[in-house]
């Protein structure tokens, strides 16, 4: 469903990677690894269509994502480095307004349920600026609980979370894969996802001028 062919990424004057190709089908997860600065986030942003690739192409259901535009974005859920949480709003308001802006039907009950699942019960009505880093991350991840869109692109979802929350996110991803969804994620923590096929992609750091990468299947 999601195919990348010969992607190249140039940041400023440095070429971060080149010739990155992979193919991901329903129920599969791509586990993106590499050192800091190897271009993991850049690759994720490329997959979302935010950053254009210096060369190469990304196809979704056989069509280039540049041409699909909104059609592709309506099947995409991206969770970036930043939480996209408004400090002035409460977790509940954040969750509801994010859903409304993404034009998803999310009623207040399911939103409350999602917040309870990520362990923010009792803090739904507290402005997010009073939450800890981990709690803010949980508030951001609450979006995933009822997220039905097919492609999840997650940048370091486990950062700042405690083990219980990490398990929860892994379970959510597992359930998503079981439904036939796709996930692309980066992380420095190795976390076992309970279901679905996992592919790994290593983004090599630049040494001799060209990037190395390897695609392994496990």
């Amino acid at each position: 469903m999601l195919e990348a062919s010969k992607l190249e990424c140039v940041r400023g004057e440095r070429r971060l990677f080149a010739g990155v190709s992979f193919r991901l089908d329903g129920g599969e997860m791509l586990y993106l690894q590499g050192r800091n600065g190897s271009g993991k986030t850049s690759l994720l942003r490329m997959l979302c269509g935010m950053t254009p690739a210096a060369s190469g192409e990304i196809r979704w259901r056989g069509k280039p994502i540049r041409k699909l535009g909104e059609e592709f974005r309506s099947e995409l859920c991206y969770l970036g480095h930043q939480n996209a949480i408004k400090e002035e709003l409460t977790p509940l308001e954040n969750l509801l307004s994010a859903a409304r802006l993404a034009q998803e039907a999310l009623d207040e009950d399911s939103a409350l349920d999602a917040l309870e699942q990520v362990g923010l019960h009792g803090r739904e009505d507290l402005a997010c600026r009073y939450l800890s880093q981990g709690q803010k991350r949980r508030a951001a991840l609450a979006r995933l609980v009822h997220e039905k869109r097919a492609l999840w692109v997650l940048d370091e979802p486990y950062v700042a979370l405690d083990t219980a929350a990490v398990d929860l996110v892994a379970r959510l991803i597992g359930a998503h894969l079981q439904r036939g969804g796709l996930t692309v994620l980066t992380t420095h923590q190795s976390v076992a996802v309970p279901a679905g096929a996992v592919r790994e992609l290593w983004l090599g750091t630049e040494e001799a001028g060209d990037a190395r990468h390897a695609l392994t299947e496990c």
Binding site: M50, E88, A102, A127
Partner: protein, 222 residues
């Protein structure tokens, strides 16, 4: 489509209400700048009446400049802008909603204050009415055109000053027709022509400017 625009406006207004200090600061800036002019040029009522439309309009431009940098900067910093750009609707529509919200928060208070400040300048009643009307019609254009500059300077070094440099020249027509409408009333020509042109600029600013703004935002997110 309307649902989306309403959602954007609602969210931005709610955020502004939780952070009232910003609105209050920009509004007081407007009041102070306008009140400084009589101190600078003297209390002669004839002269003040002549200066009033220009002073109020220039102060309105400057007050808008003050609130523009934050139009997208907060969303950019906390990652919300990425989410907006990835939403399955044209980004231009979202920008349109944000422009409306910006006007409600930053433009409308200026309009409401204008008659009070106009009295300081000894403006006659009809001139006061036209001044308020011209600001009511013209300030949306300031928000719309300003959004382009805010998007272009997003995350750029010295963004605030650069923003003024880019946007103020583009405000010239709005300033001319806005202040001109009041002048025309005072000199007995009637403000209709000015006000209709101002209305045309406002429509252009609010409905066309979101699209280059959206393009500029996508560039800033690359």
């Amino acid at each position: 489509m309307l649902v989306l625009i309403r959602a954007v406006i609602g969210r931005d207004l709610r955020l502004a209400m939780r952070r009232q200090a910003d609105i209050v600061a920009a509004t007081f800036f407007f009041i102070i700048v306008v009140s400084l002019f009589p101190l600078g040029v003297g209390p002669d009522a004839d002269q003040l009446r002549k200066l009033a439309p220009g002073v109020l309009w220039v102060a309105a431009l400057l007050a808008t400049m003050l609130s523009l940098p934050r139009l997208f900067a907060d969303d950019h910093r906390d990652g919300t802008l990425e989410q907006l750009a990835l939403a399955p609707q044209p980004l231009g529509l979202i920008v349109f909603g944000k422009v409306i919200a910006h006007w409600l928060v930053a433009g409308l208070p200026l309009v409401l204050l204008a008659p009070v400040l106009g009295i300081q300048f000894d403006l006659a009643n009809d001139a006061l009415a036209v001044l308020t009307l011209s600001l009511l019609i013209g300030t949306p254009a300031l928000s719309g055109i300003g959004a382009i500059g805010a998007a272009l300077t997003l995350g750029v070094r010295g963004g605030g000053v650069l923003l003024s440099l880019l946007v103020l020249p583009l405000y010239v027509p709005v300033l001319i027709f806005g202040a001109g409408a009041v002048d025309a009333t005072v000199s007995g020509l009637g403000p209709q022509a000015h006000l209709s042109l101002l209305g045309a600029l406002a429509l252009g600013g609010v409905f066309f400017a979101p699209w280059p703004t959206a393009a500029a935002l996508r560039i800033a997110l690359e």
